[in-house]
């Protein structure tokens, strides 16, 4: 596994269902990033469908992210508070994607 995290993706377009993020300087709210990891099983079209469905990404953006996962091994698909990230990871797991979360340093 690559020990240094990739730079986070630019903030994704707001999907209708997501609350807006508050920014604070409190340590507990250090932004977290959500990563999706490449695996040899999930179909590319399936990954695109899931990213569109869960995050409201356009087909273009979701395809870009999927290609990043496929070619670089992983991609940042979302960021936010720890609670936000855990909810996103849980939803990605429901769809069988291999997702993890970590602090965005």
């Amino acid at each position: 596994m690559n020990s240094s995290p990739p730079p986070p993706s630019p903030m994704p377009a707001q999907a209708p269902t997501r609350e807006s993020r508050t920014t604070t300087l409190v340590d507990e709210d250090v932004p977290w990033i959500v990563l999706v990891w490449n695996d040899p099983i999930n179909l590319m079209g399936y990954v695109v469908m899931v990213l569109q469905k869960l995050f409201g990404y356009s087909n273009t953006k979701a395809t870009e992210l999927m290609m990043d996962v496929h070619e670089k091994g992983r991609a940042v698909v979302a960021n936010g508070t720890q609670a936000d990230a855990e909810r996103d990871v849980a939803r990605l797991h429901e769809y069988g994607l291999w997702a993890t979360m970590q602090k965005d340093n």
Binding site: I41, G45, Y46, N59, E86, V89, A90, H93, G96
Partner: protein, 174 residues
């Protein structure tokens, strides 16, 4: 399988029409109880099922405490969600029309089957449709795995075709 210009699984005014063969429905009927067994942990004792691990992955790979909390909060619900979807597919195995919820359950359950089978077969990125020897259990499993990929593509195409005038939703990504 006969060649047809019309997709076997497609949205109609009455729901998602699914015209797959009887043998396919039978196959799914055999696979679903096996998936249920994996999910509820029935199987060879002492074995940690790789398929199970794949269905319930780590969220915090480098943080034991946070990981324990995460699994405590989410694992039971994830199991329940999978079992509910499984039930929905089982109940609609003979159906020719699916609601959106049922169609969604078919997509994720077929994918769950692929995850378990693919993990057991230890498939790689470049795995191809190798020659199938009908007497070879491993080949049969591989053939089933590839069939499920094909079925999943057909199920997903419905979603991709939901915006027929949107050029972004052109099929063929796979």
């Amino acid at each position: 399988m006969s060649f047809s210009l019309r997709r076997r699984i497609r949205r109609t005014g009455k729901g998602v029409s699914i015209k797959i063969e009887e043998e396919e429905r039978k196959l799914l009927g055999h696979l679903i109880p096996q998936l249920r067994d994996v999910l509820v942990g029935v199987g060879p004792t002492g074995d940690v099922d790789d398929g199970m691990r794949r269905l319930f992955p780590t969220a915090h790979p480098d943080d034991v405490e946070n990981e324990a909390e995460f699994q405590g909060s989410h694992r039971d619900r994830l199991l329940a969600v999978r079992l509910d979807r499984l039930e929905l597919v089982e109940a609609t195995l003979s159906a020719e029309l699916l609601t959106d919820a049922e169609h969604g359950a078919w997509i994720t359950t077929v994918n769950d089957l692929r995850l378990v089978l693919g993990t057991r077969l230890d498939v790689g990125e470049e795995d191809d449709h190798d020659t199938v020897n009908p007497d070879d259990a491993a080949s049969a499993a591989a053939a089933t795995y590839h069939y499920l990929g094909h079925l999943l593509s057909e199920l997903i195409e419905v979603v991709q075709h939901d915006e027929p005038d949107d050029p972004r939703f052109a099929p063929g990504l796979d």
